[in-house]
Amino acid sequence: MTPALFALNGVTKRYAGRPALGPLTLGVPAGQTTVLIGPSGCGKSTLLRLLIGLVEPDAGTVAFDGTVVGPATARAVRLRTGYVIQDGGLFPHLTARGNVTLMAHHLGWDVARVTARVRELADLTRFPTDGLDRLPHHLSGGQRQRVGLMRALMLDPDALLLDEPLGALDPLVRADLQTELRDIFRALGKTVVLVTHDLGEAAFFADRVVLLKDGRVVQDGSPAALWHRPADPFVTRFVQAQRGPQIPAEAP
């Protein structure tokens, strides 16, 4: 097995006294796509936030590349990690280019380097060049998501975290973007952690699926194992709940 880039060890998190996650011990292997899946409120988004220190655990430790993630180290971890949320989480006062280059400017990259990197990313994500100088609300949902991805990839991070990245898109755009995203993940070979509640999407992306329920791991393995070797009745119910369209027979 490849070494874990992220490692959670005995992590628990409570919100307003109620347990939200854990105790949880989990490794995220480098260079693979791990999908966190589960019903709403299962703790999958909290887990993602824990990885880059947006949320601090009440007990246990989170480590990135061997370093414990805490207030002192979180910034360094974030610079090596891209983070994409639903609808891109774009800053409405900045153009697409402004969003993508914000951090590079902050770090003092020179103009030529920034320009070259933006062109490279626009090619990779197939984002139209004339859209770069538009504000987010003048872009389509799919374009916003591409900008969010470009922003996350700008510093060429080791890992990419995505929280329901395609949740706000209509089915056709979503299907196209899923294909493109998977191609990008494969081309870049980065460590990817993706959160979704859609089993089809999970199976499409995942090298490995982690199914969560009430803040605990119910099953951790290949997508196929969820169908063929469910760990408990909840997994079976969860798998069966995701149904495809049922087409009634045509009247004669």
Binding site: R49, I52, L54, R75, A76, R78, L79, T81, Y83, I85, G89, L90, F91, P92, H93, L94, L102, M103, H106, L135, R151, L155
Partner: protein, 490 residues
């Protein structure tokens, strides 16, 4: 404006001093005092000496300003000195004043005694000729200026001395009291015996049959150190001793009060006629006056607003970051806003006296306006920051931006339209409230408004009111346009 420039303006306006300070002649807020101060300021100016008139309010404010050195001289009345200022009748008035570092000139010539006045027809109908006759008519309505209501040589003294029974007594502005008397809204008011209105409205001055009112001879009070700093100014002021007759004063009062003549022109003509002294012709023309008050007004508004932004935005950020502290900050600025603006202005006089050693003029006005402008800026900064979606702040943090950069690059730009709306509100409040600076000699549009109220001179009031409204609208649209620019981008 660049930041150093703003700081320079603030420091200059707070310090309020130039290398060679002009000689300041104070005036109380009524026509005769203004004319006398104008005479004084015109006489005081000479080679190497500039002089100006400061309209400051009532006797306590003038006395304080004189003893603290904000003004160098002002016209006063002997009766006021003994009854109100010293509250004693010392055998040697000059020695008693010298103990306060103040000198007194010889009488200027006329007396301006307090007296009570009525319409002749009302007085005839009631059979009133002297103050003691009022005792038989407890139903008469009395109206006095606030100062007269408080002074021991005013209404409280008269009431006790004559055992007057009247309970229906209102406080009002001097000019308003005359108009109320003429229109029959009140029956008795206090008059100064040199008032132009006595002749203008043909009023009856009630005889002081039990000899309550002392003599009020006009004199100069000036600082003892003026004699060492500018002996020639003292000599020039004292040229008026014995030169102003009662009729001359009444005529000048009537010219300004009834005919709305400019007090500077009236004073200049008198000096030429009586002393052969030629001073600057009339005052400056309308355009020059408006320009001058506009500059003065801007010197109140711009520094106070600039400091309010520099302090208010960080306070708003603090309030948004620390909710518990934020409640205290918002409540405090809210309480300041509920203080009546005039009260806040007067409260700033001792505070600024203590802080920068100048209790009149621009510093207390700028300080009060600064406090008054805080709330909209603090509240809108707080609202703008707390209204930002949590996902955006999280996205900024997830990028790896440090806390201050999240604030500077993401949160403040997102909150900018709301903050600007707060600044706009503050600017409009500020421009309006700055007119109250006229009460404490801070200049600006309040000056003509208050002089106009005193003289009941509507064009003069509008000379301050219209530019003030224009400036408020200008501030509104400048910040409105900037705000819309932000909104379009965001």
């Amino acid at each position: 404006m660049t930041r150093p420039a703003i700081v320079a303006v603030v420091v200059a306006s707070l310090a309020g001093c130039s290398p060679e300070r002009p000689v300041a002649v104070g005036a109380k807020k009524f026509t005769e005092s203004v004319i006398l101060a104008e005479l004084g300021a015109r006489l005081a100016a000479g080679p190497g000496v500039t002089a100006r008139r400061d309209d400051l309010g009532g006797t306590p404010a003038l006395w304080l300003a004189l003893t603290q050195g904000d003004i160098d001289a002002y016209p006063e009345y002997t009766g006021t000195i003994t009854r109100q200022i010293l509250q004693a009748d010392p055998p040697d008035l000059a020695a008693a004043l010298a103990a306060h570092g103040v000198r007194i000139s010889k009488p200027l010539g006329f007396r301006n005694n307090y007296a009570l006045g009525m319409r002749k027809d009302t007085a005839a109908a009631k059979g009133v000729r002297a103050i003691s006759d009022l005792r038989r008519h407890p139903d008469l309505k009395l109206g006095f200026i606030h100062e007269f209501l408080d002074r021991p040589d005013g209404w409280p003294g008269v009431k006790r001395h004559y055992a007057l029974p009247h309970a229906n007594v209102q406080g009002m502005n001097h000019t308003l009291a005359y108009r109320s008397l003429v229109e029959g809204a009140i029956d008795v008011t206090e008059v100064y015996t040199t008032d132009g209105e006595i002749a203008q409205y043909d009023l009856l001055v009630l005889a002081d049959d039990l000899d309550f009112f002392p003599a009020y001879e006009a004199v100069w009070l000036y600082r003892a150190d003026l004699e060492t700093r500018h002996p020639e100014v003292v000599a020039r002021l004292r040229r008026l001793e014995g030169k102003i007759s009662e009729e001359a004063m009444q005529t000048m009062n009537a010219e300004v009060q009834a005919k709305k003549a400019d007090e500077g022109r009236v004073a200049g003509e008198f000096l030429f006629r009586e002393l052969g002294v030629e001073t600057a012709p009339a005052g400056p023309g309308l355009a020059a006056r408006v320009l001058e008050t506009t500059v003065e007004h801007l010197l109140l508004v711009v520094p106070s607003l600039a400091v309010a932004i520099l302090v208010g935005v960080p306070l708003g950020v603090l309030a948004a970051r620390r909710p518990r502290l934020g409640r205290v900050v918002l409540a405090t600025t809210g309480v300041i806003q509920t203080i009546p603006s005039l009260a806040l202005l007067l409260f700033m006089i001792p505070v600024m006296m203590w802080l920068v050693g100048q209790g009149t003029g621009a510093p207390p006005a700028v300080a009060a306006l600064f406090l008054y402008s805080l709330l909209p800026i603090v509240r809108n900064t707080h609202t703008g920051l707390t209204g930002i979606a949590g996902s955006l702040r999280e996205s900024a943090e997830a990028l790896g931006l440090p806390g201050w950069a999240v604030l500077w690059r993401v949160e403040l730009p997102l909150a900018a339209p709301t903050i600007l709306a707060g600044v706009r509100t503050a600017a409009v409040i500020n421009v309006g409230a700055a007119t109250l600076g006229g009460f404490i000699g801070a200049g600006g549009y309040g000056e003509p408004i208050l002089r106009g109220l005193d003289k009941f001179d509507i064009p003069l009031m509008l000379e301050g009111a219209i530019p003030a409204a224009v400036m408020a609208l200008a501030a509104e649209s400048v910040f409105g346009l900037t705000g819309r620019g932000f909104a379009r981008r965001g």
